[in-house]
Each structure stands twice: as structure tokens, then as C-alpha cells.
Symmetry: C2
Subunit: 251 residues, 2 copies
């Protein structure tokens, strides 16, 4: 049997098969069993299953086809709204609308999303994370009717796999792990650790198509270029200021 | 066999047994197999195993005993330093030191940390997440010798379990899940979903000990009170400004 923890792959193509409610509940329950700060469960899961809803949702994810093709789309949100409401009816202060708890709730929502991913994969389902959720937080918030205190953090498309791609390469473990303290890299170490990725024929082709000298330039100047990143950063900051942070805690 | 995805528990007490290097590598490899943005792998894992190092690290985690008792402590960091270095030697722009990529790298580091957690638990090991890493980012950064562009996001203590606690209660799945769009809660729904947690004898005792009227007040006014949260928010913001964000991208 394949080890689904060591050999997982992102799945972007799905069969037109439905996931049973029982399986979906199993997957989502794994999400709420994962660790979270003080057991406050500062997250919500928004399930998109309706075909028309998925069609309307797709443009907010740059029309990536996974949104309409997957049986289920799960948007995992950082959520202090529920907790705040509980405080309100108990005459308690609402103390979480600040940068610390934006970070903590983002982390807790991500933990839950990854637990959902693993549970889905353990059932033979395929999952794709859509990073677009971070770029389009404001628009997605409106689309999903998120109240103040709720921020979309992760978006997962889940379905029965209709592809079996090769395992994507990763940097060697030695490039990621530091013993006892961070040992910064010298040029030689960096060159060696990226060698395999740079020499991958798909990446060589990718550099050519983009008229760049090397893969690093394609990543940092085209795919994740400064101008776009700074614009999305500004949008995200504005969204957080308006929809999560107290007046005296603005970024 | 127990389903480790549905019945996982945080383990805070560990036997004095070592985790083999083979097992540790297995666990960490699961971390780097998980999804990440553009396969840029914007994370690093710092391993603390040395007894003296753990003793020195413990105060930065408010002296929680797990730090010294666990065989291994893994601090998972958001890391654009490695990627920036790769860009530098390739004459490429460094485009990730902004709020968008702080968020994305935080999420990717958390995904890896949760994948590490699940892999450890699949091997019968016990894990505890230390939220303190978010409160003490600056001090932890100095202790672990983190360069600019590296932010501690998650800290995991991992060891052979020496306890078997009860499954912690969670809000019912229906409280967390929203179908198609976010349905905000009315007072009655909030009261019902928190009922079981409020009636837990440990929590009733907890309210008494803290001289508060109810559990919500203990959480939002004592355990996670506004003053502390806002102070830690300010510290975290300063840390991020100095150690991650470009001059023109300051928060």
C-alpha cells in the first residue's frame, strides 16, 4: 500500500463522482480534531457544492478549472465572529480583533485545512490548495457572505482523482532542516540544492517561454513579481483593517 | 485499530525515549511533501534535541515543561531567506518581503507543521503545538539565530507518549460548517453550541478559580485578555517590520 503521507500529490483533475455526506463529514471532523489555540476553534468551513455557485466562485480563483470540476470546494476561514458572539451574550470583552489573533486564527484555520486534506487523501480522494484565496480575500469574503471577524485563509478543491501525476520534486530535506540553530547558506549550498529543480526539462522550457535567463527570474519577476505582490499586500491589509482589526489595532 | 485522524489528542507528557533519526526523517519528509505555494518551499525546520539547548529554550515558551521533556522540539519557520539568496545569485529581484508573502509563507509553514504532526502521530508519537511561538517571535528568532526573512510560526514538541488523556470536547461540526455561504448565528444557536463546553466540570471549576461569572469571561478577559493581546500584537508587528518586510512594505 502506498504511504499517503510520504507520496501525496496535488490532484487537479477529478472524476464526475460525488463524495458521500458520510465521507465529507469524516474529512471535516478530522479538521476539528486537530490542534488549535486554547480550544477556541477560531475557524469556519464554507462548503461549496452547488454547481451554479461553483461557476460563480471560479472567477474569484482566476478561473482555475478545479473549482468547477471538483465535487466539493471547502473554504477554510479564520473566524473570531462566533467566539465574539459568545463573549457578547456573556457580557465578556471581545479581545481577539488584533494582529496577534489574526495570526493565530490564520494558523489554526490552516492546521484544520491540512488535517482535512490528509483525511481526504487517506480516503483516496484528491485535493488541490488554491492560493488565490490570499489574493482575493475581499471579493471572496463578499461572495461567501463572511461577517466581520472572518477571513478566508485556505481553499481546497476535493474530488475523486482523474489523474496520477508524477511526484513533484522538492528541495532535499537537508536544505530545509537546521540542527539546533539556523545555519545560513553560502552560494555553493544554494546552487547545489536548487540544481535538480533548475535542470528539470519542464522548468528549462518554462524559462525559455518566459524569455528569462533562469528559473529564479521567472519566479520572482513574472510568476510572483514585486508589483503584483505589493498590490495584493495593500489590498489584503485594507481588507484586514476593515474586516478584522479593532480601530485601535489597525495595520 | 484507532483512527489517528479522528481521535488524535495533544500529548504533553513524554517518556524518556529517543526518536530514531530514521523516524524523524520520515516525519520531516511528510512536512515537505505537503502542498505549498508554487513549490517555492518557503519554510525551514529548526530541530532542538540538545538537552542544554532545550533548557535554554524553555523560558521562551513560558517554561512549559513539554520543551525539556519531549525528545525533539521542531520550530517551523516561514522562510523567504533561502529563496531570496537563490534570487540573488541569479540576478533576480527579491519580491517576497511583503505582507502577502508573509501570509503565504506563514500558511505554508503551518501546512508543513501539521503534516509533520500527522506523520508523527501515525508512528504512535505524541505532539503538542506551542502557541507561545507567536507571542515570543523576536526572542525565539534571536535564540535560533534566524536571519532576516525568517519568522517562527509553529513550535512542536514530539516524543513517545507517557499519558493517554481523554478526547477534548469540540464544538459540534454543525457549528463550524456553513453550506454554500456563511450563515451568521443567532443568540440561541450560540448558547446551544457552547452548552456542553460550559457545563464541563473542569470548566465550571476554572470559572470559579478565576472569580468570573462565566467561561467566556475567563477566556477573553484573563487567559487571552485584551491588554496582553494588544501588547503582543505590537511586538509581533515590530518584529515583522524589522525582520521580514521591505522598507516600502512596512505595516
Amino acid at each position: 500500500m502506498k504511504d499517503f503521507l510520504q507520496e501525496r500529490k496535488t490532484i487537479r483533475k477529478y472524476k464526475k463522482e460525488h463524495i458521500s455526506q458520510e465521507t465529507l463529514d469524516y474529512i471535516l471532523k478530522a479538521g476539528i480534531r486537530a490542534s488549535n489555540c486554547g480550544n477556541m476553534q477560531l475557524y469556519s468551513f464554507i462548503i461549496t457544492k452547488d454547481e451554479d455557485k461553483k461557476k460563480a466562485y471560479a472567477p474569484l480563483h482566476f478561473n482555475q478549472p478545479m473549482v468547477t470540476q471538483a465535487d466539493v470546494v471547502v473554504t477554510v476561514c479564520a473566524d473570531v465572529n462566533r467566539f465574539n458572539h459568545w463573549c457578547e451574550i456573556n457580557g465578556a470583552d471581545k479581545s481577539l480583533n488584533n494582529f496577534l489573533f489574526l495570526n493565530i486564527a490564520t494558523i489554526d484555520a490552516t492546521i484544520a485545512a491540512q488535517a482535512i486534506t490528509t483525511a481526504a487523501e487517506s480516503k483516496g480522494l484528491g485535493v488541490c490548495w488554491l492560493g488565490t484565496v490570499n489574493y482575493m480575500a475581499d471579493e471572496i469574503s463578499k461572495f461567501l457572505n463572511l461577517p466581520n471577524g472572518v477571513v478566508p485563509v485556505a481553499c481546497l478543491t476535493i474530488g475523486v482523482p482523474d489523474e496520477n501525476p508524477e511526484l513533484t520534486e522538492r528541495l532535499p530535506l537537508s536544505a530545509i532542516v537546521h540542527n539546533e540553530e539556523y545555519k545560513d547558506y553560502d552560494d555553493k549550498a544554494i546552487k547545489e540544492m536548487y540544481k535538480q529543480i533548475e535542470e528539470n526539462p519542464t522548468n528549462i522550457q518554462y524559462v525559455k517561454e518566459n524569455n528569462k535567463e533562469n528559473l529564479a527570474q521567472v519566479f520572482s519577476e513574472i510568476r510572483y513579481g514585486r508589483k503584483g505582490n505589493e498590490e495584493f499586500s495593500k489590498n489584503y491589509k485594507e481588507f484586514i483593517n476593515q474586516n478584522f482589526l479593532d480601530k485601535n489595532c489597525q495595520l
